[in-house]
Structure formats: C-alpha cells, structure tokens
C-alpha cells in the first residue's frame, strides 16, 4: 500500500489547482482582447488597406480617399516633440542619478516627476492652450502641440533614462574617477556609452505614446481637415496647423456623418500597427540588450 492521501492533502491539492487555473484565466483574459481587437480591426479594414490609402488625400469631405495629411502630421508632431523632450529628459535623469544627493529636494523632484506622469491628458491640453497657444502667442500650431506632447512624454523619458543610468555599475564610475577624470568626463566617457541603448529603448517607447495621444493636440494644433500637396514630405510648416492620425480617427468616427465604415477601421489599423510595431521593436531591442549584457 502506498501512502494514502489525507483528506486535507487532497483538499489542498484541489485548491492549488483551482487557484492556478483561475489566475491563468485572469492572465489570459488580458491576452484575448488584444488578439481579438487587432484581428477585428484588420478584418473590417481589409478592403481599404493599400499603399494608396496611406499616400492619398481625403476626398469628398473625408468620406473617401486616404490619410496622407494625418500620417504626415503625426510624424511631424512625434518627431518635434521628442526632439524637445529628449535632451531635457536625459539631462534631468543625469542630474537625478549622477549629481543629486539623497535629500528633501531630490525627493521633491522625484515627486514632481511621478505627478507629472499622472496628470490627465486633457489637463495637459488645457495647459498647452493656456501656456503655448495663448501666453506664448504660438497660436494653434504644430509647435504648440509638439511642446504640449513633449511635456507629457518628459516624465516617462526621465524615469526610463534614470533606470538605464542606474544599471551602469558604480565600479565603472569609481575606476574612471580614480584615474583623475571629472564628474562630467566620467558621465560622457563611461556612463552614457554604457547606457545609451537602454536610454534609446525608453525614448522609442515614447514615439508610440506621442503618436497615439489625441486630447493634448486637439486644442493646441490639430485640426479636422487641412489640404496639403500630396507626396511632399515638407508640406507643413512649424506654425501651421496639421492633421493627425489619432485626431483623424476621432473626427471620422464621431463628427462626420455617413463615412464608409472601412475608412475609420483603416485609420485605426494604421494607428494601432504603428504603435504596436514601435513597441515591439523597443521590446526586442531591450531583450537583445539584456542577453548581451556583460556585467
């Protein structure tokens, strides 16, 4: 006779199995929506997806044609906002990780970063309208919208850069200092080269965030419709208003009546795939970096 299982033991095992299945279900219930959503969007958008859809102007009051001005506008907004946010964010992270001491002031900065990250996007929109459009007299323009987006992405860039900097071992810095290098020489020669890829990963992630936001640009620079010449990359100026993919999706799905359904679905697919591909690239980069880390 083998050792019989006690009643308590059976119950324990059964509970264990139930718990595992329930938790697995909860985790899977998160994967399912992603697959379903992307699949459904593709299914609905299939008839319209083509290169022409990407490069043509909207026609017949946005009930026909493509999304070219919105695509280009999003590209402008994302690029300009990151060009503004990256140097400030990286410098702030360098300050927090390399210069600041652990005192109340540093705590305050940390608290500000956390809270800046938690400010609702519509409040960012109000701020952008009050500060850049009105106070700085930039008007509703690509510049004002990009500045608003830059401030929104800033705290996340600070956090991810700080993490990348902190992953460089202290011994690297100490070795550098001990041969007589100054603080800044150490940062430039040792800390930044060893963390640059981690910093880039964090910034790439913000490309997708900036591309997807709607509320902050709605009142600061994005418009329903703007005619630009087809096929020209420099069709927008810094002080022009522009269209944007996210805003375009909002417009044709809620504001314009009788839009053929494939059109908003096509726009949504382009937006979602842009965001997901950028994220996937960043995740792949991160995994590759981890695998070849030497220390």
């Amino acid at each position: 006779m083998t050792f019989g299982e006690t009643k308590l033991g059976r119950k324990k095992r059964r509970n264990e199995a139930i718990a595992k299945v329930v938790f697995l279900g909860m985790a899977l219930s998160m994967i399912l929506p992603l697959v379903l959503i992307v699949g459904y969007l593709f299914h609905q958008a299939w008839p319209i997806l083509s290169l022409d859809f990407l490069t043509a102007m909207p026609r017949r009051g946005m009930r026909d044609g493509g999304i070219w001005p919105a695509l280009l506008g999003t590209f402008y907004l994302v690029t300009i906002s990151l060009v503004i946010a990256t140097p400030i964010g990286v410098a702030a992270a360098i300050y927090l990780n390399e210069y600041s001491r652990d005192n109340w002031f540093t705590r305050l900065i940390h608290l500000a970063v956390v809270n800046l990250a938690g400010v609702p996007s519509i409040v960012h929109a109000l701020f952008g309208l009050g500060a850049f459009v009105m106070f700085a007299h930039l008007g509703r323009s690509i510049l004002a919208a990009s500045l608003t987006l830059a401030i929104m992405t800033l705290p996340v860039i600070i956090a991810s850069t700080k993490e990348a900097l902190a992953s460089v071992p202290m011994a690297f810095r100490e070795a550098c200092w001990s041969v007589g290098a100054t603080r800044w020489q150490t940062i430039r020669g040792i800390v930044l080269p060893n963390s640059i890829s981690g910093i880039l990963t964090g910034i790439i992630l913000q490309v997708s965030r900036a591309a997807g936001e709607t509320a902050p640009i709605m009142f600061t620079g994005a418009v329903f419709y703007k005619a630009i010449p087809e096929g020209r990359l420099f069709a927008y100026g810094l002080f022009d208003q522009c269209m944007a993919l996210s805003m375009h999706l909002f417009t044709i799905s809620t504001q314009v009546p009788e839009v053929p359904p494939a059109l908003p679905f096509g726009t949504a697919v382009v937006l979602v795939m842009t965001v997901l591909l950028v994220n996937a690239a960043s995740i792949a980069l991160r995994a590759w970096l981890r695998s070849r880390k030497k220390w």
Binding site: A92, I94, L111, S121, L126, F250, N279
Partner: protein, 295 residues
C-alpha cells in the same frame, strides 16, 4: 593642465543639467499656474462653489439662466471609474499573482510583453472600439436602447487600466523577500495558501499603490470615455445609463466655448479639479510605495 575653456564648458554643462533636473518641478507648477490663470477670472468673480459642487444642472450655454453644476459630471466619472475598478482590480491583481508566482521563464516574459502591448493601444482606438464593437454588443445582449453607457465605458477603462495594475502589482509581489516564500513552503503551505496568507498581507501597500495608479489612470482618461459613454449629463441609476465625465466635458465643449468666456473659464476650473484629484491619488500611491520601502 586642461585648457581653461574646457573647464568653463564643463561648468556650463553641469549647470544646464542641474536646470533640467529642476524642470520637472517647474513644469508641474507651470501646469497648475497656467490652468489656474485661464480659469481665475471667473474663479474670483462670480464663481459659486456651492452651486458648482452640489448642482446637477450643467447648462453652460443657456440664454436665460446659465448654471454650472458639476455634480452629475463627478457622478459620471465616479460611476465609470468604480465599474472599471470592480473589473480591473481582481483581474489585474490576479494576473500579477499569476505572473509573479505561478509561471516562469518564457511564459512570464510573453505575458508581460502582451500586457505591455495592451498598454500601448491609444485611447482614441479604445474609444473607437467602444463605439463600433461594444455599442452594438451591449444593445443586443441587454436589449438596451443605446450601448454608449457606463457599462461600455467601464469595460473599456478596465482594459486600459489593467496593464498598470499588473505591472505595479507584480513589482510589489517581487519586493516580498524570497525567505517569506521559502518559510511558508517549508511549513507545507500550498502556493495558493502562500499567496493568500503570506504574500497578499506582505505586499498590501504596493498592491494598494497599483490600484490607486489604476484609479488615477481611469479618472484622467479622456478620449475613450468621450466616445464610449454617451453624452447624457445626469446621475446614473443603472450601468445602462449614459453619462458624461469631467474629462469628456472639457474635451467636448472647449472647442465651442469662446476664448475667455465664462464657459471657457469654468472648463479650466474643471481642469483644476481634475489636476487636484489626480495629484492626490498619485501622492497617496507614492506614499504607499514609500511605505514598503521604508520597512
């Protein structure tokens, strides 16, 4: 000797870095200042806080009797957030427990990647899904006259705030020392008993922070609720009622309110209210996290 200009350059760079380090504080103050500035004209002349907080009458464009009562809007935000949390908290914490305690290696990494991608889907796309997928679904299943309601917005918001609950919750569970787990398992506890009796009490502050950050996300979300909850300004009595949230009101009406009119200023006052709510929620979450680190 180093040339003098190099020393000067280094001095300048270090000051720029310090300045950027302080920038996060300046931006938080700046957001409050500029939003406050745009709303201050009415806030100090004629603003009626009693009516503002206790009236459900929101008639900003009425010719005869203008009333700005945001109680119904607050109820809208609260109802959608509550429903979202009722769904997202058990699922999010369950998934966090599954990832951190019940699976390893490849599985863990893949689920985390999927959750990261889920977090990347732009809010306007979620709103679009609420509009085109959930809306007909709710009408069909519940036989409701309209599918844009609390239920719709709650489910969409739950899907949007689950990723943040999972990632912060998992961090909190990871912060529990392994010796706790080993001690419990050595006593013959099953994994479920370990989770229920040891990990949940030990990580409760971090899990609380995860929930609070999820609440902050849900309260501040704009585009998704703008598109998915309908536009009825009233206190909901069932999940199938349409509502309008604080954020959606700003997004829907700011474009039409004449600049510096009373209506425009009241929308900025709602922005201040949102800023204060999310600031408080984030502060609490930060304190909860500090609580575990201090131990």
């Amino acid at each position: 000797m180093r040339p003098r200009w190099e020393t000067a350059l280094e001095w300048a760079i270090e000051w720029i870095i310090r300045l950027c380090g302080v920038s996060a504080i300046l931006f938080v103050l700046g957001i409050f200042f500029f939003v406050f500035r745009e709303g201050s004209g009415y806030l100090f002349h004629g603003f009626n806080p009693v009516q503002f907080f206790t009236s459900i009458e929101w008639y900003p464009t009425s010719q005869s009797n203008v009333r700005y009562g945001v109680l119904a809007l607050i109820a809208g935000t609260a109802s959608v957030t509550l429903l979202a949390m009722a769904i997202a908290v058990p699922f999010g914490l369950g998934a966090a427990i599954f990832i951190s305690e019940f699976c390893t290696g490849k599985w863990r990494e893949s689920i985390k990647v999927v959750i990261e991608l889920l977090a990347a889907i732009p809010s306007v796309v979620w709103g679009f899904i609420g509009l085109t997928v959930m809306n007909p679904l709710i009408i069909k299943i519940f036989n409701a006259p309209i599918g844009l309601n609390v239920l719709n917005g709650g489910i969409i918001l739950a899907l949007m705030s689950v990723p943040i609950i999972v990632s912060i919750g998992e961090d909190a569970l990871k912060a529990v020392p392994d010796s706790y787990r080993e001690a419990a398992l050595a006593l013959g506890a099953t994994r479920w008993q370990l989770v229920y009796r040891v990990l949940l009490p030990a990580a409760k502050n971090g899990l609380l922070a995860a929930v609070l950050l999820g609440v902050g996300r849900a309260v501040g979300e704009t585009m998704a609720v703008l598109m998915a909850t309908g536009h009825a300004i009233k206190i909901p009595t069932s999940p199938l009622d349409s509502v309008r949230t604080l954020t959606a009101t700003i997004a829907a009406e700011l474009g039409e309110a004449p600049v510096h009119s009373q209506h425009y200023q009241v929308l900025f006052i709602i922005g201040i209210l949102l800023f204060i709510i999310t600031f408080a929620v984030n502060l609490l979450a930060d304190l909860a996290v500090k609580g575990i680190k201090g131990k």
